[in-house]
Symmetry: C2
Subunit: 125 residues, 2 copies
DNA sequence: AAATTTAATGATATTGGTTATCAATAACAA
DNA sequence: TTGTTATTGATAACCAATATCATTAAATTT
């Protein structure tokens, strides 16, 4: 989960952390980079810090539309994605989703990913 | 879903169709391309034909590890993915997964995506 | 069976997200 | 303060996927 080498608390790490930790809209690395444009941070550092925060269990990822998006909500949950505006919303997992099935018995489950795709109320017009 | 213009039944379309239609291992476009190497088919045509088969509802896609994989099973189902060997297995959706939740009420749901990630029996040693 | 139309093909350039490289910098320890 | 080394920033490289475009070949018409 966390790296062996000690993690240094650079100002760039704090910048990325503070920029992403309260976001509920699942920003991409480029979104965070643009938000931090005034600070002179490099795009590679944004990618690296976001990846290290995922390693540390501070963020989770949502892959959508061939881009990695970041989510500070780390407890198990599901997503609603609007295929028009591409907005992603965190929602609760349905009860009983983890009931065992025959096939899952042979698996050592680490993670669940549940997404409904559709059209959000704003885009239904 | 399907295109307006008439679809021509080229030999390349048949090649890609026959190469993917019975696969249960969720191949990538490159996998299909390599299987068809002896035929002289171009990589762009493989991508195009797979995309058109998805358009036509003959295939579904599974995005994993930054690659699109193709699945001839088009009825709603879930996936088990082994994060060691990257094998993907089709499994049944749990009963009652589509029960409405408050958040989903405002959504027009088109698609469900459910994946468990873990370690398959072969990779547990 | 030609001739015609135009979708499809194949080679390859391009795109776009992401990662690798590496000299310079700065965080932390001594 | 000095030394060690993880981190940074600029940018090259990577790679799946798409766009471009002259050529080919299905499907239709004559």
């Amino acid at each position: 989960m966390s790296k062996n080498s000690p993690r240094r608390f650079t100002k760039q790490r704090r910048l990325v952390h503070d920029a992403v930790i309260h976001r509920v809209d699942h920003p991409t690395a480029k979104d965070i980079f643009h938000e931090l444009k005034g600070t002179g941070i490099g795009i590679a550092t944004v990618y690296r810090q976001l990846a290290s925060m995922v390693e540390d269990g501070i963020l989770t990822t949502v892959d959508y539309d061939n881009e990695t998006r970041y989510d500070p909500l780390t407890s198990p949950h599901a997503h609603l994605i609007c295929s028009i505006c591409n907005k992603i919303k965190d929602i609760e997992l349905p009860k009983g989703i983890d009931n065992l099935t025959p096939e899952k018995l042979s698996f050592e489950i680490n993670e669940i990913e549940l997404t409904w795709k559709g059209i959000c109320d704003d885009c239904q017009n």
